[in-house]
């Protein structure tokens, strides 16, 4: 059972050390919200701020999404769980941040819960990994001996559906969309300025929250995240109308892994799959 209090202590200790020594200018971690069950993302900029850092099972936020807000060259320490570390690796691959400017505080953890519903979070809605893939300091011991579960098991039901049933499912889900763009903003990989949906020349979709625009927005977004999505599930948790976006992202991630033999966000030496090609690529993927 993960000792959240211990991790919080270690996090505060590390943050204090890093800020005092001047090694970093900001620590991206978690802070108090309006109550215990609702913590918030928090950026500690001074030693005094460290007091406000918390860590509990509701701290699901992927802090990597805030990395691109800081000017290039800022020294940042960031608290990362498994999927969050993959996000950082992916951002390094895409050259949005440099490895030497980051101090990763790795948090191996199980037992996270959705702060809005209280539900337990597992590999059904996230990547299912428990240990960060990249870290400078580990805030608690790596967790081993977990039963290996594929994050793609949840797709079986949808892959078994026939085309029409799947279309009906996605149409009814995407019709709920109110185009608030919380999914886009919650995602660490959605850093484009301007985003395609905000462009008028060409106008890819209109602003009204109705079927054609919603479908264009979501399908294109699924494509833009192909091979980049690290399956943290934040987009689906951010959605105010509970669209299961994680299902589609998982499917695309699964296909990209199978076709291109590379999972996203695993090694900083990799190149993102869609800006790369290999001699071994075959035409079979087009069938």
């Amino acid at each position: 059972m993960t000792d959240f209090k211990k991790i919080e202590e270690n996090l505060k200790k590390e943050a204090k050390r890093l800020l005092e020594s001047g090694e970093v200018t900001v620590v991206l971690a978690y802070g108090k919200g309006f109550d215990e069950q609702h913590p918030m993302p928090y950026a500690a900029k001074s030693v005094a701020d460290v007091e406000n850092i918390v860590f509990n099972e509701y701290c699901t936020y992927n802090m990597a999404r805030y990395l691109v807000r800081y000017p290039q060259g800022t020294k940042i320490a960031i608290a990362v769980k498994a999927a969050d570390s993959r996000a950082v690796v992916q951002l390094i691959q895409e050259e949005k941040v440099k490895r030497e400017n980051l101090v990763l505080l790795g948090i191996p953890v199980t037992g996270m819960k959705n702060s809005k519903t209280g539900e337990a979070i597992d590999s059904k809605t996230t990547c299912g990994m428990v240990n960060p893939v990249l870290y400078d300091v580990l805030l608690s011991e790596e967790i081993h001996g977990q039963k290996p579960v594929s994050p793609y098991d949840v797709l079986a039901e949808y892959e078994a559906m026939d085309n029409d049933a799947r279309w009906e499912f996605w149409k009814s889900q995407l019709d709920k969309c109110i185009r608030c763009y919380a999914c886009r903003k919650a995602c660490p990989m959605c850093y484009c300025d301007p985003c395609f949906i905000d462009q008028l020349k060409p106008k890819w979709a209109d602003k009204a929250p109705q079927s054609p625009g919603n479908i264009m927005y979501h399908l294109t977004r699924f494509h833009h995240l192909a091979g980049r999505c690290i399956d943290c599930g934040e987009c689906s948790r951010a959605c105010p109308v509970d669209i299961p976006l994680y299902l589609f992202h998982k499917k695309v991630a699964k296909e990209c892994e199978e076709m291109f033999k590379q999972a996203s966000g695993m090694s900083i030496e990799d190149k993102p799959v869609l800006v790369n090609f290999r001699v071994e690529d075959s035409d079979k993927i087009l069938e």
Partner: protein, 181 residues
Amino acid sequence: MLRCAFFRFAATCEKVGLASRTSRALPLEFFIAPYNDFIERKVMSFEPKILGIACNWCTYTGADLAGTTRLQYPPNVRVVRVMCSSRINPSFIFRALQFGADGVLVGGCHPGDCHYNTGNLYARRRLATTKKILEFAGIEQGRFRVEWISASEGNRFAEVIEEFTTQIKNLGPQTKLKIQE
């Protein structure tokens, strides 16, 4: 005049070894054969609208060759020329389907032969992803196709168009992504 056309046709077939001398007899089917397509088209009323995106150096040139050698193929594919298959933004495919295309056919150079060296290698990965996305969304698989057609493959171009058009005809009109007014 029809008879002359038929005799000429039979003679050519003979010449190229496609038929024996006896084919110059006059069965009705031979008579109607050149018009089969026309009859079919009028009887089967669904005429698909297919968007074809062809890369300038290979596929578009191949299409040109099909034209200069007077190869017959269905007129349903509207061809748009791009300089390289990697110019294709997957949103083009989604947009085409939303705007009423019943099918989308992309043609590029064979991998390894791209005029810009590596364009189609990126395009292959990208369009394969597009295919998987359309499939998971529930769009029929046969509606989006990627073919590598080189500049000398005029016959192949005509063949692919023929096949694809028939396939789309069988799938019927695309109503899922099409914006209903």
